[in-house]
């Protein structure tokens, strides 16, 4: 792994104003770094602000406070962002949870994959856009027979593969994946996680992997951050985090991972007891 810091998030905070009175502190003073070639996981329950962090990193939201640096470029500074817009918008790619709504239903698969190249005016290295799409599809394990299909004709796992192929077409350096496996079956989840791992090794990009399934995160990521109520409560290398979790919330999350063993599973504490334990702590 390279020591070069690709993404540097410093004291990021974001507030949503629902009305004049009601404000929600979605992200509260979060700082972390991603090195080149590193897979960083972000876990936490829904509403803990993981997706908001991802969206701030991708310039979907403008953070209320704090700074985000991508290769030394301040993403929150409009002028700096504008100067490097082309590079930033192609080298960072986003993968969404719901592949159903992330893909345009009226476009064929090859058009979807080739669209970013069209927008960024990239000359396809393999001749035509269609050939380029076919090459990318091959990388994510789809054969050429799917080129002319429409998204509704594909299964959830296949659609997620198309979304990954579209992101890879721009040869990104940073991939932000917001719960990419949450809506898939366990056996398909395994396929997609393997694909992420394999592609990361081939291309060497960094991944910010957001999930609530800790077992998958343990398998895929190098480092993991745990978020709770907008705060990053713990960040550690994956082995350290699972073997010796420091924060009580992390402990309760880890103990909630289902074990595929009926006797052990039943001997465990109930969810309420676990919650109580960490509330007391």
């Amino acid at each position: 792994m390279n020591e070069e810091i690709l993404l540097d998030v410093k004291h990021l905070s974001h507030v949503f104003s629902l009305s004049k009175k009601v404000r929600i502190q979605a992200v509260d003073d979060v700082s972390f770094q991603i090195r080149r070639g590193e897979i960083v996981g972000l876990v936490g329950e829904s509403g803990s602000g993981k997706s908001t962090v991802a969206r701030c990193v991708m310039n979907v939201y403008r953070p209320k406070e704090g700074e985000i640096f991508y290769k030394g470029i301040n993403l929150c500074d409009r002028k700096e962002f504008r100067e490097h817009k082309r590079m930033l918008q192609s080298k960072r790619q986003f993968i969404f949870q719901d592949s159903d709504s992330a893909l345009n239903q009226r476009m064929k698969v090859w058009e979807i994959i080739a669209e970013p190249m069209k927008i960024q005016h990239v000359t396809p290295p393999r001749g035509t856009l269609r050939a380029e799409a076919e090459f990318q599809m091959h990388l994510v394990g789809l054969d050429a027979g799917y080129l002319d299909k429409y998204p509704p004709e594909l299964s959830g796992g296949q659609r997620q593969r198309v979304a990954i192929a579209r992101a890879l077409a721009m040869e990104p350096e940073l991939l932000v994946a917001d719960e990419p496996i949450a809506s898939l079956d366990v056996s398909i989840q395994a396929q997609i996680v393997n694909l992420f791992k394999q592609l990361q090794r081939q291309h060497g990009f960094s991944i910010l992997f957001i999930a609530h399934d800790l077992a998958m995160v343990e398998f895929l990521c190098d480092r993991v951050g745990v978020m709770h109520h907008g705060k990053l409560v713990e960040m550690a290398p994956v082995k350290e985090l699972f073997e010796a979790p420091r924060h009580p919330y992390t402990r309760s999350l880890i103990s909630a991972i289902p074990i595929p063993d009926p006797k052990r599973e039943r001997a465990r504490k109930t969810g309420k007891e676990m919650d109580k334990e960490w509330m007391d702590a």
Binding site: E45, A190, V193, K197, H212, F219, P258, D261, T270
Partner: protein, 337 residues
């Protein structure tokens, strides 16, 4: 003694313009009172169709082709919509995956639970109704029911919504509860709470539950018995201990190995190769054969029957035939550790 619910050789097909989709093929199982049966399989294997088929909630293009559904010894296979309506809620109820699409966003939670109670007791007094609603909300573990019953679904979190849906499902005091992936849309911690709640309620009220899931990890927590479904058929069934500690069907092995817990320390996760076959024209022989690394020649020709392993444990694979080669399951046994 006949079980509470007896399903015999049930086949359900969808008659679509593209042909007949055989979603459920020759499924038999029984459910005893107070028992939790988990139906496990990938999406598209027919597990939801099975539940909805028993409750007759399928669209008109779906038809029960053959087989019978008996409840308490009464055959309800031929029941029409009017008869079924009398049974729904009282005899069986259903909890769906996505609680937000089940709840009415313009009604308060209390009104929705109340509505379900009223269906079964139309003449109930207002005061008594409120008491009942509060009772159900307490049963499913919603704190401060007096205040919360005046709130709307959007003010509830995902876990609380699922609890409210369970309260409406339990309002008619059903004998059987169908839970169709009730925790898939929830986080790990909330998921554990809802599973505990399911078991809790089931113990308190003695409701028999059919729990549908794609995650074997979740099933271990709640189920008494497990049925593994593949391509519309039950391929292995047994008590939870039998299926987890001594799985026999290659598909069950595949499902187990796909869990990250079984791939600890390995470089890649195991994934079952290939995809589900289309059920428009199901393949000849064992539908799993083309994805099965242990497939025998006979798997492509003839469909395996359910071989008994014990009185309660059955699996449909030719590997259990006495002429088949001995294969040790590639699943690490947790018990031995």
């Amino acid at each position: 003694m006949p079980g509470l619910l007896e399903v015999n050789h049930l086949s359900i097909s969808f008659f679509t313009p593209r042909g007949e989709v055989e979603a459920v093929r020759d499924v038999s199982f029984s459910l005893n009172a107070g028992e939790v049966l988990a139906v496990v399989g990938e999406s598209g294997c027919g597990k939801s169709v099975l539940c909805k088929g028993i409750m007759k909630l399928l669209p008109p293009i779906a038809r029960i082709k053959s087989g019978s559904i008996c409840i308490n010894g009464t055959d309800i296979t031929g029941y029409g919509e009017r008869d079924m309506q009398r049974l729904r809620g009282k005899l069986f109820s259903m909890v769906f995956q996505d609680p937000m699409s089940v709840l009415n966003p313009t009604m308060t939670i209390g009104a929705q639970i109340g509505e379900a109670v009223k269906v079964h007791q139309p003449r109930i007094a207002k005061k008594e109704l409120t008491e009942k609603v509060i009772g159900f909300m307490e049963l499913v573990g919603i704190d401060k029911p007096e205040e919360r019953m005046k709130m709307y679904p959007h003010q509830f979190s995902g876990g609380m919504r699922q609890r409210s849906v369970m309260a409406t499902a339990l309002a008619g005091n059903p004998k059987i509860l169908f839970a169709d992936e009730p925790t898939t849309a929830l986080d790990v911690t909330i998921q554990a709470q809802i599973l505990d709640l399911l078991r809790d309620v089931q113990k308190k009220l003695g409701t028999a539950t059919v729990f549908v899931s794609h995650d074997l990890g979740v099933v271990a927590r709640v189920a008494d018995r497990v049925a593994v479904m593949y391509a519309g058929k039950i391929v292995e069934t047994g008590t939870v201990e039998e299926v987890y500690y001594d799985p026999r069907h290659p598909y069950t092995w595949g499902l187990m190995r796909a869990l990250p817990a079984f791939s600890k320390g390995q470089d890649y996760l195991y994934a079952i190769p290939g995809m589900l076959p289309t059920l428009i024209d199901p393949p000849k022989g064992d539908a799993f054969a083309c994805r099965n690394e242990y497939a025998l020649a006979i798997d492509y020709r003839e469909e395996p029957p359910l071989f008994p392993i014990t009185d309660t444990h059955y699996a449909a694979t030719w590997l259990l035939d006495k002429r088949a080669p001995r294969i040790t399951a590639p699943v690490r046994r947790w018990k031995d550790e």
